[in-house]
Every structure is written in structure tokens, then in C-alpha cells.
């Protein structure tokens, strides 16, 4: 037992001394967590969305067209407490030719420099008064670049602003009773009224990503490199046996993953406000199963590759598809059948599903029995292949 523990300690020490390993083990998961949390942590939230739009009022006078102008002006004003308005609003300068301004802005819109242009046509106020007395209703022209996702998003917000103006006009003209409006609420699955943050969805994904890359790159890298430079051969002339070596290596690997988990969790919890409770037996078991699955996967790669470079190449090829086709960072929806098949054979899909279900971040999507059977199947397959193929010494 002492020999096994010494080996595990040596494995941890060697890994922590290696700057490249340290980077992928600790720095990269934290970096990715930070980037994704910063981008998606508050998507669409106040101060986090801003569109460049132009407004051209071709109507004379104030009235209803002025109401629209004011509504957009308010949206372009920074909210109290700092931040910036949702729109950066371009309007013709005093005395500027509106036709020329519109032409200029249309050019910008078509070239992606602007998200939308709203044009209030001439005679709008008169037409609107007519509409309130039963005549045909007037319309504002909303120019969008449908090819641009940002423009489409801006269009949705502009629709809402106009809906707000419509409501205001209807209330003022006595056509809509605000007391009679039904209340609209938003709910989030998993946590009732309060919206669980994206960080709560992301953090388990980053934790498993760390374990996954550690198994995928760390295990074959260490084994194949140690074999290639004949470090393993030196072990074999001692009383150490392969099972004892593997046991020591596995304990060391679990130790490294624990260290990694601690670092990622601390950043997720204290820097980004994750509220997940990992201190539960079922969650700990899923984490342990994940480490075991990915470690076994690493041994599988080590048994297939002939050289350390070959091992890294196989790991590199599998890394991206397995990570992204599992829902680690974004939920899996709308995939065609051939990609869905890859999702269903991917052990990461089942492990992340179990982990999130255990943590209460949504309910499990994968069938319960498969969530255990698929990772265990991969472990069994990997051990069987590694048992048959993995060479523990260079050929003499």
C-alpha cells in the first residue's frame, strides 16, 4: 500500500511541476468558465445588449410620432445606476436633409454597420387620428437586415417598443382598460419563480470538461511518454507490478481531479455566484464515476496509440466532438439524426445529465438505466481493450 501511495504522490508532484499540464488542468477550465459566464451569464440583461439603430421622423409636428421618438429616446438613455441604453440611436441633425440621412443609414444597414432603421412616414399623426375613428391604421417602416442575427434581435425589441406605444395610445383613448389586462409572468424550470443562472448550468459542465481532458490527454500522455523514455522499464525491474502501478496512478489522478474540482468550484461559486451544492453522496458518486470513465478512456487511447504524439493526436480528434456533442456547455437541441447518434454513444452526455439532475439543474433527459450503463460499458470496454493491447514497455 505504501508503494501505491508513493506512486500516487509522485504522479501528482510530476503533473504539478509540468507547466503545460498545470495549464490544461487548472488554468484552461477556469479561463473557459470565465469567458462563457461573462458572455452568456446575463444574455439580454440590462446593460448587456446594445444595438445601433436609426430613427427618421418624416412627419411634421409632435403628437404620436413624437411619442414614438420619445419612447426610443428613453431606450437609448443609460438606465439609472450606470450602464448603457439598449439602443444607440442615430437621428438626423437639425437642418439635415432627412432623405440624404436615410440613404446614408440604409447603406450602413445593408453593410452591417447598423441593426435597424425605423421610419415614421409623413402624415403619420393625421393617419393615426383617422385610425382611431375607424379608418385604416398607419404603419411605421422597419428596415432590417434579415441576414444579420443582431438585426433580427433588434427588430424584436423595436416591435416591443411599438407595442408599448400602441398600448399607451389605446389606454389614453379609452380603448384599453389597464385594469382588465391579464398578468404575465415568467417561470424557469428547475427553480420555480427564481431564475437559475447560466453559471449553475455551466459549472457542472466545466467540472466534467476538466475531468474529461485530464483523462483524455493526461492518462495517455503520461503512460506513453513514460513508456517511451523508459521510465516504466525502470519500475518493472523493481518489485512493482502493473496492477499496483495502475492503482497508484489512479489514486494520483483522482487527487489531481479533486484539486481541479476545488479550483473550478471556488471560482464558479465566489467569482460568478453559482449556488450549487456538490456536497451530496449521489453527486460525489457521479463525479467519481466520471473520473473513472475518463481515466479508462485515457487507457483505451494509450492502448491504441503507438507513440505519445499518436496518443495526443487521437485525443485531439476526439476532444472537441465529444465535449460539444454532450451538452457540457450548451443544451443539445435540433441536431440531425447522425449527430444525435454520436450524442447517444458519448459517455459524457450521460455523465453530465446525471450530474445536473443530481445537482437539481433541470431534470435528466437521458433514460435512468442508460445513465449508469453507458459509462460502465465504456469502462468495461476500455479495460478489456487496454488489458489486451496496452504495452507497458518499449519493444526490445
Amino acid at each position: 500500500m505504501k508503494g501505491i501511495l508513493l506512486l500516487s504522490r509522485a504522479h501528482i508532484a510530476i503533473s504539478l511541476r509540468e507547466r503545460v499540464t498545470l495549464f490544461w488542468f487548472l488554468v484552461f477550465p477556469i479561463l473557459l468558465l470565465s469567458i462563457l459566464a461573462l458572455i452568456f451569464g446575463n444574455t439580454g440583461g440590462e446593460g448587456n445588449v446594445r444595438f445601433d439603430i436609426a430613427l427618421v421622423n418624416e412627419d411634421s409636428g409632435d403628437g404620436f410620432s413624437g411619442m414614438i421618438e420619445r419612447a426610443f429616446g428613453e431606450m437609448a438613455t443609460p438606465a439609472e445606476g450606470g450602464g448603457e441604453g439598449i439602443f444607440s440611436l442615430a437621428i438626423p441633425r437639425s437642418g439635415q436633409d432627412r432623405g440624404a440621412f436615410l440613404e446614408e443609414e440604409m447603406e450602413r444597414l445593408s453593410r452591417g454597420g447598423l441593426a435597424a432603421i425605423l421610419v415614421i412616414p409623413a402624415g403619420f399623426n393625421d393617419d393615426l387620428i383617422g385610425a382611431l375613428t375607424g379608418e385604416e391604421r398607419p404603419a411605421v417602416d422597419l428596415y432590417l437586415n434579415r441576414n444579420d442575427p443582431g438585426s433580427r434581435m433588434a427588430g424584436g425589441i423595436i416591435d416591443q417598443v411599438i407595442a408599448g406605444v400602441n398600448r399607451e395610445i389605446l389606454i389614453r383613448s379609452g380603448r384599453l382598460d389597464p385594469e382588465g389586462e391579464v398578468e404575465t409572468k415568467a417561470g424557469w424550470i428547475g427553480d420555480g419563480e427564481e431564475r437559475p443562472g447560466y453559471i449553475d448550468f455551466l459549472l457542472p459542465g466545466i467540472v466534467l470538461m476538466g475531468f474529461f481532458t485530464a483523462g483524455l490527454f493526461g492518462v495517455p500522455g503520461t503512460i506513453l511518454y513514460s513508456r517511451d523514455v523508459k521510465i516504466l522499464r525502470r519500475y518493472w525491474v523493481s518489485p512493482l507490478t502493473v496492477p499496483r502501478y495502475v492503482a497508484g496512478f489512479a489514486i494520483g489522478h483522482i487527487g489531481l481531479c479533486t484539486l481541479q474540482f476545488g479550483a473550478v468550484y471556488t471560482i464558479g461559486r465566489y467569482a460568478f455566484g453559482a449556488r450549487l451544492d456538490f456536497a451530496r453522496v449521489d453527486v460525489a458518486l457521479v463525479l467519481l464515476l466520471s473520473v473513472a470513465t475518463f481515466m479508462a478512456f485515457g487507457f483505451l487511447i494509450a492502448s491504441i496509440a503507438r507513440t505519445p504524439n499518436g496518443g495526443m493526436a487521437i485525443a485531439n480528434i476526439l476532444n472537441m466532438p465529444m465535449m460539444f456533442l454532450s451538452g457540457l456547455f450548451f443544451p443539445i437541441t435540433g441536431l440531425p439524426l447522425f449527430l444525435l447518434a454520436l450524442v447517444y454513444v458519448n459517455p459524457v452526455s450521460y455523465l453530465i445529465d446525471s450530474l445536473r439532475a443530481g445537482l437539481g439543474v433541470g431534470t435528466a433527459v437521458m433514460p435512468g438505466s442508460l445513465r449508469l450503463a453507458v459509462p460502465l460499458g465504456w469502462i468495461a470496454l476500455s479495460i478489456a481493450v487496454a488489458g489486451m493491447r496496452l504495452r507497458w514497455d518499449v519493444e526490445r
Partner: protein
């Protein structure tokens, strides 16, 4: 000149023998397109969203159904109970949900759907506003006439992603070409042997650049071809602009890679640094998600990244979006300038004997 052609020939052999390197250059952009295209497709749009409904009360049901019909091209999937709806939502059988109990409208979302929730919420607001008007018999006095002012026919999200991925593959190839390759030569002491010959440092970099340029042209054309043949995408490529831009971008990003080669000694560290820079740029450059949805400081950072402008220029030369010609030339010439300036200046520091 003979020396340079020998260097180019040997570089070409090394590149063609590196099967893994070739795989990453040629196949990886396609894998990226496939995975990310489907996963992140349609960010910000909800054109084909599925709305699950549980209408538990008959009150004003006609108005609600009318409002749902007016909401656009969404698919409405009815459920009998709130539990069934929540279950379908959590299993991602529908994109968002609506509960109506006769008193309040309650929209349900999955917090994990960061790529779609914003658009689903906009749709929900529209449905709610329309419902409130319809049930009181009111008609919105102002209509909206939506006009597509895009200079190019709308081709969908995938068409925008592909040129972005091509730009990303140029960036990766350029960054790795010098940083990974030269540092590997240093580590294997090949550089030491070359330096004692009459070879000029810049000749080696020119040879690396020439071979890398050929590979990048080939790779980007394959990506474009596969996108057209397999995914049925349409591009209106300005070939002169395309060849000029791809060449300038490759040289420019190789110039940036020279800086990495200068900063790190080991190929593994160079690859790591290049990898991380490429990954950060991929997320922040508006290739998969619009820059407009990012916090202000990330938006500013995005504007400072070469990949943001490279992706825009690539979309322009493939005829997917329009751009000010002045901006296109500014991007292309800046990249070319970076390469031309950095190469000769830094080559004498990069191509030198190992320090150990």
C-alpha cells in the same frame, strides 16, 4: 534562390508527412462547421421555435389562440397539464412553454437555453401584448411594415457561420505555422543546423509562409466546396478579393504567430498559447453569437481582435454580407502589413540557435 526553393521543397515534404497536422488543417474546419453550426445555429432568432402550451382554462381561449396564430412561424404543441408541459420543456421537446389558467399567462423557460431564451422572451412579450388587446377587442393603432434592407438575399445562419469558420481556420493555421513549427525545429535542433549554413533567417520564414499559404488556400477551398456540395449553401465569391484576403490574412496571422515563437521556447507551450488565443477569439469574435449580446467590455475587446475583422472580411468576399470596400481594404492591407513588417524584424530573433 536555389537555397530558397530547396527550403520550400523540404518544408512541403515536412508538411505533407505530418498527417495529423494536415488532418487538423483540412478536416477540422468541417468538424467545427458541423458541430457548432447545428448546436449554435440561429442564435437570436426564433423562426422555428416550438411553444408548448397547457391551456387549463377555456376563458378567452379564442383570443389566446388567435394571438398564438399571429405570433409568426412558431409550432404550437398542446399539453394537457402543467406537469406534462414542464416535463417536455425539461426534455427539450419544446423550446418554451405557456400556461393559461384563466387568470394569468405564465411563460416557462429552460435557463440552460442561453442561445434562444432572449428570442423566446421577445416572442412571449408579443403574444402577451396581442392577447391583451384581442380579449378587449382592441386593435393596435400603429402597424409595423417590416422591410428587408439587406443588400444580399437572405441565406440563413449557416451561410454566415461558414466564412467565420474559414477565417478561424486561417487564424489557427497562421498562428501555429510559425509558433509551433519553428519552436519544434528549435527543440529538435534542426534550426541550429540550418543556421550554420548560409541560409538567411528570413528565407526560412518565407519558405514556411509559402507552404502554409498553399495549404491554407487548399483547405479554405475544400471547406467552401464541402459547404456547397454537402450542406447546399450558396456563396457569391469575389475570387480576386478572396485570394488576396486569404493570402494577406495567412501572412498577417503568421506574423502574429512569430510573436508567440519569440515569447516561448517549447513547441508545446507555443501550441498552448496559440490554442488559447484562438479559442478566446473564436468565442468573442461574433462567429457563433452576435457581438451585440455581449457585455460592453467584451464588445470593446471583440472589436480589438483580428478574428472579428477577418470573419467580417471573409463574409464579404464570399458574398454573404456587405461591407464598406474601404474597410475591406483596410483589413486586408493591415494584415498584410503586419506580416510584412513583423517577419523581417522578428526573424533574426526567432530563427537563432537554442538558448540552452
Amino acid at each position: 534562390m536555389r537555397g530558397l526553393s530547396s527550403l520550400i521543397a523540404s518544408e512541403l515534404k515536412i508538411t505533407l508527412r505530418d498527417r495529423m497536422g494536415l488532418f487538423f488543417t483540412l478536416i477540422f474546419p468541417l468538424i467545427f462547421i458541423l458541430i457548432f453550426g447545428f448546436l449554435m445555429g440561429g442564435f437570436g432568432g426564433a423562426d422555428s421555435a416550438a411553444l408548448g402550451t397547457a391551456l387549463l382554462s377555456e376563458r378567452d381561449i379564442g383570443s389566446l389562440q388567435e394571438a398564438l396564430k399571429d405570433a409568426g412561424a412558431i409550432e404550437v404543441v398542446p399539453f394537457a397539464t402543467e406537469e406534462e408541459l414542464s416535463d417536455a420543456l425539461s426534455k427539450r421537446k419544446v423550446d418554451f412553454g405557456l400556461l393559461w389558467d384563466g387568470e394569468e399567462l405564465r411563460f416557462l423557460y429552460d435557463p440552460a437555453r442561453v442561445e434562444g431564451n432572449y428570442a423566446f422572451q421577445q416572442l412571449a412579450r408579443g403574444i402577451s401584448a396581442e392577447f391583451n388587446l384581442l380579449r378587449q377587442g382592441a386593435v393596435p393603432p400603429i402597424g409595423i411594415r417590416e422591410i428587408d434592407a439587406g443588400g444580399i438575399e437572405t441565406k440563413g445562419w449557416f451561410n454566415l457561420v461558414v466564412p467565420g469558420i474559414i477565417a478561424f481556420s486561417i487564424l489557427s493555421a497562421g498562428l501555429f505555422a510559425v509558433s509551433g513549427h519553428i519552436t519544434a525545429m528549435k527543440e529538435r535542433r534542426i534550426l541550429d543546423r540550418l543556421i550554420v549554413t548560409p541560409m538567411r533567417p528570413v528565407s526560412l520564414l518565407v519558405a514556411v509562409a509559402a507552404v502554409r499559404l498553399a495549404i491554407v488556400y487548399f483547405s479554405t477551398l475544400i471547406t467552401l466546396g464541402v459547404s456547397i456540395l454537402i450542406f447546399g449553401l450558396a456563396f457569391r465569391v469575389d475570387w480576386a478579393g478572396y485570394f488576396l484576403f486569404v493570402g494577406s490574412a495567412t501572412i498577417g496571422t503568421m506574423g502574429l504567430g512569430t510573436i508567440i515563437a519569440l515569447l516561448v521556447r517549447r513547441p508545446a507551450s507555443a501550441s498552448n498559447l496559440a490554442n488559447v488565443l484562438a479559442m478566446i477569439m473564436l468565442f468573442l469574435s461574433g462567429i457563433y453569437f452576435p457581438i451585440e449580446v455581449m457585455p460592453p467590455f467584451l464588445r470593446a475587446l471583440s472589436q480589438g481582435l483580428p478574428l472579428t475583422h477577418m470573419a467580417d472580411a471573409m463574409r464579404y468576399v464570399t458574398g454573404v454580407t456587405e461591407m464598406e470596400p474601404v474597410r475591406f481594404w483596410a483589413i486586408t492591407l493591415s494584415l498584410l502589413g503586419i506580416g510584412i513588417v513583423l517577419f523581417p524584424i522578428l526573424s533574426r530573433y526567432v530563427v537563432r540557435p537554442s538558448r540552452s
